[in-house]
C-alpha cells in the first residue's frame, strides 16, 4: 500500500492532466463541427464529452486508447495483421535477436579493451563515436543495405532478412551501454583481490573467470536493462523508414499516414508495455543470478 500510493497519485494526476489537455487540443475541431451543424450554445458538459470522444482526435483520451488497445489485442486473432499482438511479436523478435547480438558484442569488446591497452586506446573512441551518429539517419541505410545483402548475396528469404536487418539496428544501439558498463565492471575488482590471485600465480584466464567476470555481474545487469530498451527503440526505428508492413513501428507509421491518432497511441502504449516487460524480465534474471551468487537480500 505504502508503495502503491505514490504511484497511484502520480497516475491520477497524469490522467487528469491528459483529459484536461484533450479538451483544449480537440476544442477547435469540435467548434468546427458544431459550426457546420449550425449548433449554438452547446452546454459545457456536452462540449467536454464531445472533445473526449472524437473519431480522429488530435489528442485521444485514455479511455479511447485503452479501448483501442483492448480491441486490437483481445478482440482480433493474434495472427492477423490488425492485431497489435502480431505487431508486438514482430518487433519483439527483432528486439530479442538484436539484444542478444548487441550484448555479446558489447561483452566481447569490453573483454578486449580490459585485457589489451592497444585495444583500449584504439577501440574506445570509435565505440563512443558510433553513438554520436543519429540512429534515424543511419537506420534506413542499414535496413536497405542489410536487406539487399541478406536477400541478394546470401539468398535469405525476405522475412528473416527483414528481421535480421532490424536486429542489426537493435544490436547497434544496445552494444554501447553493455560495452561501457562491462569495461567498468571488469575493471571493478579491488587491487587487494587482484594481488591475492597474483600470489597464487593465477593465469590470466583464471583471473578473468574467478574474479573479473563475477565482479562485473552487477554492472552487466545495469547495462542490460539500458540495452534491452535501446534494442526495442532500435527495432521500432528499423520499422519506420522501409515501408515495413509489420511491427509496432510500421503500425505507428501507418497510423500517421491515415491520421489514425488513436491507433498511434495504442501502438505507443503497447510499445511501452513491451519495454516494461523486457526490463522486468532482465530484472528477474538478475534476481535469480544474485541469489545464486549469495548476495545479501536487499
Amino acid at each position: 500500500m505504502s508503495r502503491a500510493f505514490p504511484i497511484l497519485v502520480v497516475l491520477l494526476a497524469s490522467l487528469a492532466l491528459w483529459y484536461a489537455a484533450a479538451i483544449g487540443l480537440n476544442a477547435p475541431w469540435q467548434r468546427d463541427v458544431y459550426g457546420r451543424a449550425g449548433l449554438k450554445d452547446v452546454p459545457f458538459g456536452q462540449f467536454v464529452a464531445d472533445t473526449w470522444n472524437q473519431d480522429k482526435p488530435v489528442m485521444p483520451t485514455p479511455h479511447q486508447v485503452a479501448a483501442e488497445v483492448w480491441k486490437a489485442t483481445m478482440l482480433v486473432a493474434p495472427n492477423k495483421p490488425r492485431s497489435l499482438l502480431f505487431h508486438a511479436w514482430v518487433t519483439f523478435s527483432a528486439t530479442a535477436l538484436g539484444f542478444g547480438l548487441g550484448s555479446l558484442l558489447g561483452i566481447g569488446l569490453a573483454i578486449l579493451i580490459v585485457h589489451n591497452e592497444a585495444m583500449n586506446r584504439s577501440l574506445m573512441p570509435w565505440i563512443v563515436a558510433s553513438q554520436t551518429i543519429p540512429i534515424l539517419a543511419l537506420a534506413p541505410l542499414i535496413v536497405v543495405i542489410g536487406f539487399n545483402i541478406f536477400t541478394g548475396t546470401l539468398g535469405i528469404p525476405t522475412d528473416p532478412a527483414r528481421l535480421m536487418s532490424k536486429a542489426i539496428i537493435s544490436a547497434y544501439l544496445s552494444f554501447f551501454p553493455v560495452a561501457v558498463g562491462m569495461v567498468k565492471g571488469l575493471r571493478s575488482p579491488e587491487p587487494i583481490q587482484l594481488d591475492l590471485l597474483h600470489t597464487y600465480n593465477a593465469r590470466p584466464w583464471q583471473v578473468f573467470w574467478k574474479l573479473r567476470w563475477p565482479s562485473s555481474v552487477p554492472f552487466l545487469f545495469a547495462s542490460l536493462k539500458v540495452g534491452v530498451v535501446a534494442s526495442l527503440v532500435g527495432a521500432i526505428v528499423g520499422e519506420l523508414p522501409t515501408g515495413a508492413v509489420a511491427g509496432l513501428g510500421a503500425r505507428l507509421l501507418a497510423g500517421s499516414y491515415y491520421s489514425q491518432t488513436t491507433q498511434i497511441w495504442a501502438a505507443l502504449a503497447v510499445a511501452s508495455i513491451l519495454a516494461a516487460l523486457l526490463v522486468a524480465a532482465v530484472g528477474l534474471v538478475e534476481k535469480l543470478v544474485n541469489r545464486a551468487m549469495g548476495a545479501r537480500p536487499a
Binding site: 591475492l196 597464487y200 600465480n201 551468487m293
Partner: protein, 261 residues
C-alpha cells in the same frame, strides 16, 4: 638455509612528488620456524618489505631470496600464503568456496580440496560455517576464513600484513592466541606486520623495529619468552621489558623523523 634472506635491499617508489625511498638498505635473515614481527609507524616500509617478499613489489637494488630463490620463482612455486589487511574474501563465494579458491587455481583434485577445506576451517575454528557467505560472518570470522585460505595449500611461509588491524581488542586477543596455537601445530615460518607493540611482543620470536623516511631497520629484538604463551604473560616483567625496548626503538626512529623536518 634461510627462508627469507635480504641483503642491502632498497626500494624507491616513483611518484608525482618525486622519488620516495620506501626501503633503504634492509639486511635481514629469517630462519625456518621463526615468528618475525615487523613494527613501525606508517610509512616505515614494513608492508612494502612484506610485499617485496611476496613479489608484489620489485626492489630497486640489493638482493632478496625466498627459500633460496628469487621472489618471483618462489611465488610461482607457491612458496607462501599471504593474509591481507582486509579479508579480501570474494563475496559471491561461500566460505568453503573462498578457501577452495587457491586450491582450484593450483589444480588440486576435488576430493583433496574437500579434505583440505575441512581441515583448515577446523584449524581456524570455522567448522559449521562452510556454506555461509562472507556478509553473514563477523569481521573476525572473515579474517579467520582468509587465514584458512592462506593455510589451505602447502606453503611453509605465512606472510601476514596487519591481519587484525581492523578488529577490536577483544577479538584481536583471541585471534592472537589462536594464531600462536596455529603456528605451534603447523610449524610454519610467519612474517607478521603490525603497529601494535603488545601484539608484536606477544607473538614473536623476533621483532624488527622499523622507522620511516627512509624506511629502514632501526632495531632487531630477540624475544626470550617461552614458546607456550598464555595471554597473561603480557603482565610478566620479561614481557614488559621487551615491550619497553620496542617502544624505545620506535621513539628513536621517530626523533629522526622530527630532525628531518
Amino acid at each position: 638455509m634461510s627462508v627469507v634472506s635480504a641483503e642491502h635491499l632498497s626500494l624507491t617508489f616513483k611518484t608525482n612528488d618525486g622519488d620516495v625511498l620506501a626501503l633503504s638498505d634492509v639486511t635481514l635473515d629469517i630462519e625456518k620456524g621463526e615468528f618475525v614481527s615487523f613494527i613501525g609507524p606508517s610509512g616505515c616500509g614494513k608492508t612494502t618489505f612484506l610485499r617485496t617478499i611476496a613479489d608484489l613489489e620489485q626492489p630497486s637494488s640489493g638482493t632478496l631470496r625466498v627459500n633460496g630463490q628469487t621472489p618471483e620463482a618462489a611465488r610461482k612455486a607457491r612458496a607462501y600464503g599471504y593474509v591481507f589487511q582486509a579479508p579480501a574474501l570474494y563475496p559471491w563465494r561461500s566460505i568453503e568456496k573462498n578457501v577452495a579458491l587457491p586450491l582450484e587455481i593450483m589444480g588440486y583434485p576435488a576430493a583433496e580440496q574437500a579434505e583440505r577445506i575441512a581441515r583448515t576451517l577446523d584449524l581456524v575454528n570455522l567448522s559449521g560455517f562452510e556454506k555461509k557467505f562472507p556478509w553473514q560472518l563477523s569481521g573476525g570470522m572473515q579474517q579467520r576464513a582468509s587465514i584458512a585460505r592462506a593455510l589451505a595449500f602447502d606453503a611453509d611461509l605465512l606472510l601476514m600484513d596487519e591481519p587484525f588491524g581492523a578488529l577490536d581488542e577483544i577479538v584481536r586477543d583471541h585471534l592472537n592466541s589462536e594464531l600462536l596455537k596455529l603456528w605451534a601445530t603447523t610449524g610454519k615460518t610467519i612474517c607478521f606486520v603490525t603497529h601494535s607493540i603488545p601484539e608484536a611482543v606477544y607473538l614473536s620470536t623476533r621483532i624488527v623495529v622499523m622507522s620511516p623516511r627512509p624506511g629502514r631497520v632501526a632495531d632487531i629484538i630477540e624475544s626470550k619468552l617461552p614458546r607456550d604463551r598464555p595471554l597473561d604473560i603480557r603482565e610478566s616483567p620479561q614481557f614488559l621489558e621487551i615491550a619497553a625496548r620496542v617502544r624505545e626503538g620506535l621513539r628513536a626512529g621517530h626523533s629522526y623523523d622530527e630532525e628531518a623536518v
